[in-house]
């Protein structure tokens, strides 16, 4: 199954993510792919807003992991700068098994330890401000929730 949304502004990308947030639960793994400037940070800001996180959510590229407290903890990670040895040293499994939501950028860098059940999100640039947001659920729980989400009326409006 595949869900697709179109966004024509950073604010709309943010709102799309905000609509998805209530469908998430503790322990969820979300992979987030998209080119530089596609809106990955904006998408995560939207999730954070949906999780009632007050703190400013900014890019994790340099710090690798950023932690936020909301109605659920949010762990925003970017593995771009990580090598295999570092990935093993970070204790990522502890984050994955925690009761928070993990948003992973450049998840292919940690593919050996990536949990099999996950929501794969891709933001594709189709124009200067236009983006195609794709959600691909892997595993029964995510497929179920994506079906519910599909019936949600005003997503990304």
């Amino acid at each position: 199954m595949l869900l697709e949304y179109t966004s024509t502004s950073p604010e709309q990308t943010l709102r799309t993510a905000e609509t998805i947030a209530p469908y998430l639960k503790g322990g969820d793994i979300l992979t987030l792919d998209g080119d530089l400037g596609a809106g990955k940070t904006h998408f995560t800001k939207g999730l954070a807003r949906g999780l009632h996180i007050q703190e400013v959510v900014n890019s994790p590229t340099f710090t690798i992991i950023k932690e936020y407290e909301g109605i659920l903890p949010l762990y925003h990670m970017d593995f771009y700068r990580l090598d295999d040895v570092e990935a093993e040293e970070m204790g990522l499994e502890e984050y994955f098994e925690n009761n928070g939501i993990c948003v992973l950028e450049w998840a292919e860098k940690i593919s050996p330890i990536l949990p099999p059940e996950r929501l794969q999100i891709t933001i594709q640039r189709v124009g200067e401000n236009k983006r195609n947001i794709r959600l691909e659920p892997v595993g029964e729980s995510f497929i179920e929730r994506c079906k519910e989400l599909e019936n949600h009326e005003d997503i990304s409006n």
């Binding site: 400037g37 340099f62 710090t63 093993e88 040293e89």
Partner: protein, 309 residues
């Protein structure tokens, strides 16, 4: 400052063929002991000469923080020394006291790969964050633009160098945000650079990478310097400090010098070795904690999302 040892300077042990987690983390733990030994050997001191131990409490990666915190706790316990907790950003800011004494109130612009913050100092170790990035840090924007231009990582210094050869002939946006805001935003600028390159490619036009670098650098510097200047005036500060790894950027240094030479505000830029992450800056911030008597108990832990103190 008697010694300032950085881990990458130590000959790293040959790694095994594959990844063996226990060995990898043991390697990390071994490193911290070696660094402590080397730092004290270079300084020609022993534990009995020390008045206390300072360690980074956060923010950062929990695994890295824990190794430092636990090593410091063990050493402090074994040698009956007080333990001083330090915030990473306070370290960057206090690197300035290795250069000269503070004149309060003061303002620090902390710019690195992970941080872009304007911090007001009301007095000794009294920090107030008045501005921060809402998306990418300045150093990170540099690295991402460098990636797009095909420059090797870390790209910040490369963009700075390339900018010297280019002309600022590409109109790029500057995010001033709300009129009274000292916050920053660099993701719009980053996207504008991508769009410019993308559109040129589609039209089959050539864009001089040096001009992209120069135009991008000009936009970043203008907003950093302008907001620092405005905050310096509004808060009537007597000193401005430029700290963090991006303080090595030639264009930024020049612009900051130009902005403050004619004013009564004293500008301090610590030497480069104290700008990138290092131990001396944590020692400098630890000194402030020592002056204030802010010791930590044995329950001290690494805190990934620690707020500035």
């Amino acid at each position: 400052m008697l010694s300032n040892v950085v881990a990458s300077q130590i000959q790293s042990h040959k790694r095994f063929g594959g990844v063996v987690p226990e060995i990898a983390s043991r390697h990390h733990t071994e490193n911290i002991t070696l660094i402590m030994e080397q730092a004290m050997a270079e300084a020609e001191v022993t534990f009995s000469d020390l008045d206390g131990l300072a360690v980074t409490e956060g923010p950062g990666l929990v695994g890295a923080l824990l190794i430092g915190v636990n090593a410091a706790k063990a050493a402090a316990f074994a040698h009956q020394l007080p333990l001083y907790p330090v915030h990473h950003i306070a370290g960057h800011i206090q690197a300035a006291r290795l250069e000269r004494e503070w004149k309060y109130p003061a303002l620090a612009l902390v710019v690195s790969g992970g941080h872009t913050e304007l911090v007001l100092l009301h007095g000794e170790g009294e920090y107030e964050v008045i501005g921060r990035t809402r998306d990418d840090a300045a150093g990170e924007a540099y690295d991402k633009v460098a990636r797009t231009l095909g420059l090797p990582y870390p790209g910040g210094p490369q963009v700075d160098k390339l900018a010297e050869e280019g002309t600022e002939d590409i109109a790029l946006p500057i995010a001033w945000l709300e009129e009274d805001s000292y916050d920053f935003s660099f993701s719009g600028l980053k996207s504008a650079v991508m769009n410019t390159l993308h559109n040129a490619k589609q039209r089959g036009e050539q864009i001089e990478p040096a001009n992209v670098a120069a135009s991008f650098q000009a936009s970043v510097i203008e907003v950093l310097v302008e907001k620092t200047k405005r905050a310096a005036e509004n808060y009537q500060v007597r000193q401005v400090v430029l700290a963090g790894g991006v303080a090595a950027n030639q264009g930024l240094r020049r612009a900051m010098e130009k902005a403050f030479t004619a004013s009564d505000v004293e500008l301090t830029i610590p030497p480069f070795t104290y700008c990138t992450d290092n131990a001396a800056m944590i020692g400098a911030a630890g000194h402030v904690q020592w002056l204030k008597g802010n010791t930590a108990g044995w329950e001290l832990n690494g805190v990934p999302g620690l707020a500035l103190y």
